[in-house]
Symmetry: C3
Amino acid sequence: MSLQLDADGRLRHFLTTEGLPRALLTHILDTAESFSGVIGKSVKKVPLLRGRTVINLFFESSTRTRTTFELAAKRLSADVLNVNVATTTIKGESLVDMLHNLEAMQADMFVVRHAESGAAEYIARHVQPGVAVLNAGDGWHAHPTQAMLDVFTIRRHKGAFEPLTVSIVGDIRHSRVARSQIHALNALGTGEVRVVAPRTLLPRDVEGLGVRVHHDLDSGLRDADVVIGLRLQRERMQGALLPSESEYYRRYGLSEARLAVAHPEAIVMHPGPINRGVEIDSDLADGPRSVILEQVTNGIAVRMAVMSLVLGVAPESTPEAT
Amino acid sequence: MSLQLDADGRLRHFLTTEGLPRALLTHILDTAESFSGVIGKSVKKVPLLRGRTVINLFFESSTRTRTTFELAAKRLSADVLNVNVATTTIKGESLVDMLHNLEAMQADMFVVRHAESGAAEYIARHVQPGVAVLNAGDGWHAHPTQAMLDVFTIRRHKGAFEPLTVSIVGDIRHSRVARSQIHALNALGTGEVRVVAPRTLLPRDVEGLGVRVHHDLDSGLRDADVVIGLRLQRERMQGALLPSESEYYRRYGLSEARLAVAHPEAIVMHPGPINRGVEIDSDLADGPRSVILEQVTNGIAVRMAVMSLVLGVAPESTPEAT
Amino acid sequence: MSLQLDADGRLRHFLTTEGLPRALLTHILDTAESFSGVIGKSVKKVPLLRGRTVINLFFESSTRTRTTFELAAKRLSADVLNVNVATTTIKGESLVDMLHNLEAMQADMFVVRHAESGAAEYIARHVQPGVAVLNAGDGWHAHPTQAMLDVFTIRRHKGAFEPLTVSIVGDIRHSRVARSQIHALNALGTGEVRVVAPRTLLPRDVEGLGVRVHHDLDSGLRDADVVIGLRLQRERMQGALLPSESEYYRRYGLSEARLAVAHPEAIVMHPGPINRGVEIDSDLADGPRSVILEQVTNGIAVRMAVMSLVLGVAPESTPEAT
């Protein structure tokens, strides 16, 4: 954890939301707020990362995620290089040699995506001082920028976190997004964080995450201020962890009707891409409660914030200043 | 058609040359003329699209076409993202969701290439106001920037369109380029537009396109001021639509000798890449009549013009101002 | 050879180190020295190639090499296009047509990588005046920017070349790097250049290269100031040119112990990526003698130097000025 922070408590890498102090998370959100004005303007660029080199180091292909980091970096005026790596194992001398080579080309930041949990942390342990590592998703472990754009979106709509009830619905077990959301929401003081899922889709250590567990959707959504649906990975079906898609939808699918028990002004979120009619109904995804596309827009500002903070060039770069 | 124009008659998308008024086509050509000076200079950049994001959305791979749009966008100082999509069907919710996601990342323009006719128009119907769509080739339907670079090249060499006879030779039936050329040439008042092809390579509605049909190359080229050869898609051979390559060359292949019946100062064009010795002979392609490489150079200026016009940032952005 | 120089002796293309005058090589090194300051700064960009278009024309995929050229070009503020070509044969009209098309798009420079010897030179013979060609590796023939970054690294550590003994160890026969190094080292007046390899890994014309041949590692390394290990292409094993990997390591593998006979301050170099435990031991690769990662960093400055020199925009662009 302290791997992420320097001696003065400043963000050095961004690997997980777990263990980060509330002041730092708030500082990321405030910095993102300052960039979200930039995004609205017709000229969407600021020169904070001019002359810096960001390398998207993707061991697992994801056009969608790569695109958001690439856009964020370009709007900060960085040079961006996409390096797709076809190796499956993260550990080993050849990976470290590759890293050292890329660092020797004066890379300033690696954005790492990998199917193995712990990959970004492993890389952060091996880079030189001054080189930052951002986790763009590692196995089932963490996807911290996604979680930060989620809490950013919640704060924009709801203000303070203390009075809120947030329900996360779906495959918690295999979701790095859910884990990162839970850590961030708790650190920010959210009143109640719930997870709603069948037993087969919950992690074993779920009790230790600081959440209330619901197996029934109606009880799980009751009076919720924020409802977050997770993407259902269809390949889990074969693992016998799930009933059929239609059975899943009947029990856990989000729709305008099922949201009737939630707070009247509840918002609905989803990390995307959505499976319409499986984990969420179109009437909800495209309706007035949905902030799903806002999440995408906010993702650019949040990634700009994290990128400028880890390189120490954010508009105001000490948490104290916030 | 009106999908392309806003209430004031300004270009909003560029999907087809069909139905566009002459004043607008002329305005595109004039704007391209202003950029062709930029291209000649050693510093070939202008800041008109600085901070704007152009997404090349290619459902069909084409390095050549992608490259010309990417260069045009970069010379306007835009940020360019290449997104290759492997889906085969254009319609459906998942495509629209993908579009809305890319828009939420604050894309300003989509350059769309697709094997299905109507794809760019479908996308233009689904984007938010303020986002522009350029058609970079859709099925057999249209390739409007190619047509505009062709008429730009003709105007540079011949001036007014009224006195001209333009002969388009080859596989008209499967050519989106030919359709777009015919619409543009007619809208610009070209004296006579001819198509020269065997019956099997003509579309059924050829009479309605406003062209004179020739099946014989000598009569088709007689007194022509401009001769445009089309690329022969060799895969058509197997469809029994064509005789052998050598038979095709004997009947329709363009060469210096066959051009003897054309106007002495006739120019020769081709959208490229050429099949030497099939639809065109090297003596003609590399000879003084050929403006084939000029077409490529002009393509950058024409694409810069269309890109800056649809975003309302062209040097003088109202047709009246011309 | 004169293909590389214009009438005034200025660099026009960079295809091989063979036959280049010492003053020109020194001028490249001096120019690189001026850029290596730029690289160290947090803003690593200079505007020398602003508005210029560099096309990476790779007929053979190499992420590593492409990345270094792309970074060098971006740090000079050029626009960079990556074009991967899947054809296997370099010669022929379709290649020349493709080149002329890319030139017509106002490309200023081609960086060419090809599996066939002579490819970059072939392309340089066919481009228009004003368009520069850089060889990024052609077959077994040459890899001149790699050789220049090697001599740059040697000069930084050792100063003058005259008193030096440089030993190149490994598969000389199949190494374009070794050939380019030998030509550069000899032109720069290096005291003694040795190659150390079994007979099967030496080229037939080795005597004509101006080197001393050693088959024994101990004699080859004795009193050497610079030791360069080459990458062992494991696929050569099957060609019966090599014994087993362990046998190779026993006879030619570089290690701290084997370096005992070299000069006490000898440095160790390798073009990368290294095969640990095959041609080099980790104790040496990661030890104080190793300058392997410095070579990578220097590669950016050297490529910036060559790129700005061939386009005539280097800080001081005449050899005389040095």
